[in-house]
């Protein structure tokens, strides 16, 4: 509200009721207008995000002829799976997709298994060095992949672990571990300690209390953290292209072939990489804020 409108309302010689009604109408108007503008902005941003996804979807499900054509169609007409089939049948694609899955699954399991006890310790115990450890974990969370990938490649070559899916999985585990620890810690922090105490009062050991009471409650949050690990590993390309040659993951394979391949391969590949992430984000969307909310502290 500006000063001018206040003055005009206060100083207006018109009868009180009329002024009140006018002000109310104006307020309502302003309210509707504000709502409408919020909607407009929300829809504009949603379109900004969705339109490019729609466009790559269009490319993936048009015929290869349409993909190469100009001007391009803005929706698949005719709808065709030829392009995506061509992509999937290109040599190396299925194999690298399988590799991507293996790497991501190993990273997910390993990272969750190692992070769970650590997260629990940070959430439940007060011990000397706790803040230092937390801070240390926080600071390696943002550690550049580029910095780690080069020396690890050299070490892996020396140890005979180069170009293996499991060594890339080890690397991805390292990348996601800090975040996973903090997320899992935040999940445990969200569960009241009284539950465990009660279980212990009723004769459970500490381990039993954890296994039977805390863990079942923490599963959804831990699963969300695990999904995050999967997505990160599935999307990671720099370490993947450095650490593998014959056992490439999907992003590494696509990146490697980028210069040598035509638009149908690229666009179908772009869409294909997108799909799992879209699904996974849908499942963990509820947890995003609680995860990050805790992480910022």
């Amino acid at each position: 509200m500006t000063e001018a409108t206040v003055r005009s309302e206060v100083g207006s010689p018109a009868p009180m009721t009329q002024a009140v009604q006018a002000a109310r109408r104006r307020a309502k108007m302003r309210h509707t207008l504000r709502r409408a503008s919020v909607y407009a902005v929300a829809i504009a941003i949603a379109l900004w995000i969705l339109v490019p996804i729609w466009l790559i979807f269009t490319m993936a499900f048009s015929t290869p002829q349409d993909v190469r054509s100009f001007p391009k169609p803005f929706y698949p007409s005719p709808f065709s799976t030829d392009t995506i089939e061509f992509f999937l049948n290109t040599e190396g694609v299925l194999r690298s997709t399988l590799n991507s899955f293996i790497v991501a699954i190993i990273a997910l399991l390993l990272s969750t298994a190692i992070a769970m006890p650590a997260g629990y310790a940070i959430a439940r115990f007060v011990f000397r060095g706790r803040d230092t450890i937390r801070l240390g974990i926080l600071s390696v969370r943002a550690f550049p992949v580029v910095v780690l990938a080069v020396p690890l490649a050299v070490v892996f070559i020396r140890l005979g672990m180069f170009d293996q899916t499991y060594s890339l999985a080890l690397m991805h585990t390292a990348l996601t571990l800090p975040t996973t620890i903090l997320v899992i810690a935040s999940v445990f922090m969200g569960l009241p300690y009284e539950f465990e105490e009660a279980a212990q009062v009723f004769g459970c050991t500490r381990l039993q209390a954890f296994w039977r009471v805390v863990l079942p409650l923490a599963v959804p949050g831990i699963a969300a953290a695990a999904v995050l690990t999967f997505v990160l590993s599935w999307n990671e390309v720099f370490a993947a292209i450095l650490l593998t040659i014959t056992n490439r993951t999907l992003p590494a394979q696509i990146l490697y072939n980028l210069d040598k391949s035509g638009d149908p391969y690229k666009f179908a590949g772009g869409f294909f990489m997108l799909v799992p992430s879209l699904i996974f984000i849908f499942f963990i969307r509820r947890y995003l804020f609680s995860m990050w909310g805790q992480l910022n502290k």
Binding site: M1, V38, V41, A42, I45, W48, I49, L50, P52, I53, I56, R68, F70, P71, K72, F74, A118, A121, R124, F125, F127, R130, V140, A142, P144, V145, V146, V147, V150, P151, L152, A153, V154, V155, L170, T173, A174, L177, P178, V237, F238, L242, L255, L258, D259, K266, F267, G270, F271, M273, L274, F280, I281, R285, L288, F289, S290, W292, G293, N296
Partner: protein
């Protein structure tokens, strides 16, 4: 009670070992790669024997004067013998002092074993030495300047756009309009999109036969397609990369900002409303100052990630067209190209230093402002 004291450390142990193994050890290795070189040095001996004590070392290609020679016999595998010479030589070592000692003919180039008075060191034992050669090579590389410039330009262009958009997105979600959970999902979608996929998507828009040209020609704005992405048209390539990055990576900032907003005391914002502050004033004087810690986290995270921008650049501009620091790292490392892990480690170390510097700068800048506020 001793058990409970040890327990948290035991629980943390696997993680700590893993992180040390995969963060600390590679960092040491990286340091070695960047600053140490495998070199060959000739060890001069006290006596004409391989196992004799070492007097000093000479670098390869050092010219030496032969002071004395000794003829020995060497037995070949077939049982025959042949002469094998050791020379007592004198030369300047790397520190510039004159040293003398024995060296075998295997490591010296000498015209006549029996008569020459000078020789040159051509062999020796391998040893590692400290070197700044790789660093100098990076600094003098013709692509280094443009790689650094482009990377910083991208950071400077991407971050402000991202933060403005993320704050708008967060405010829209906070407005609690109907369907906000749907909007939340849509706004969060890019969280799962890889930089490579994002690069490919925006390439499909900006390429010569792409969607943008299809639209512009279809609506009659242009008569023939404009080639946005080509050598010599850097500004359009940068624009496409910035759009791809803003499109993909704004969601993470949004998530951090929203969780920051949720933690804010509502009274402050309501108080602002009651006292008639408009949206801009509330944002400028209440919300943003309170959000500072969240914004700081997001800023550090995003800057570090933006300094490593790689796949988007390759997908949009192609290889070797537009250089950024992470791409240079890959280019030097690539076994099919330069195959130099040392140079790659130097570039990676440089990115690391930049990230560290930027983080410290942000932390410092925010703290000093707070301290200044306290002083006032």
């Amino acid at each position: 009670m001793k058990k409970t004291k040890l327990l948290p450390y035991l629980l943390l142990l696997p993680s700590m070992i893993y992180l040390l193994l995969f963060f600390a050890y590679p960092m040491l290795e990286s340091f070695q790669l960047a600053f140490r070189r495998e070199g060959q040095f000739l060890n001069l001996r006290v006596e004409p024997q391989d196992e004799a004590a070492v007097v000093g070392t000479l670098a390869l290609q050092t010219d030496v004067t032969v002071l004395e020679r000794q003829r020995l016999e060497e037995t070949l595998p077939n049982g025959r013998t042949r002469p094998f010479y050791w020379f007592r030589v004198e030369g300047l070592d790397t520190a510039g002092t004159t040293i003398e000692g024995w060296a075998s003919q295997a490591n010296l180039f000498i015209e006549s074993r029996t008569e020459s008075t000078t020789a040159r060191v051509v062999g020796g034992e391998s040893a590692r030495e400290w070197t700044l050669d790789y660093v100098n090579r990076m600094l003098n590389d013709y692509r280094f300047g443009s790689a650094l410039g482009t990377t910083i330009l991208l950071v400077v262009l991407i971050l402000p756009l991202q933060f403005i958009l993320a704050i708008i997105m967060a405010l829209v979600l906070q407005a609690q309009i109907r369907g906000s959970s749907l909007f939340l999902y849509i706004f969060a979608i890019p969280l799962g999109i890889s930089d490579l996929a994002s690069g490919i998507i925006w390439y499909s828009i900006f390429t010569q036969r792409g969607f943008l040209n299809s639209f512009l020609v279809g609506t009659g704005v242009l008569e023939s397609p404009y080639i946005f992405i080509r050598v010599g048209n850097e500004s359009w390539m940068i624009a496409a990369i910035v759009l791809a990055e803003v499109w993909r990576a704004t969601s993470i900032v949004m998530v951090i900002v929203v969780s920051g907003l949720q933690a804010l005391p509502r009274d402050y914002i309501e108080a602002g409303q009651v006292f008639g502050a408009n949206l801009w004033q509330r944002l400028r004087y209440i919300i943003l100052p309170l959000l500072k810690p969240s914004l700081q986290v997001a800023l550090i995270l995003r800057t570090i990630l933006a300094l490593q921008v790689f796949a988007v650049v390759v997908a949009i501009a192609g290889r070797d067209v537009l250089s950024v620091l992470a791409y240079e790292t890959y280019r030097w490392y690539d076994p099919q190209r330069f195959n130099s892990p040392n140079m790659a480690a130097v570039y990676a170390g440089f990115i690391m230093l930049l990230s560290l510097g930027v983080s410290l700068f942000y932390l410092r800048a925010v703290r000093s402002e707070e301290e200044a506020a306290k002083l006032l």
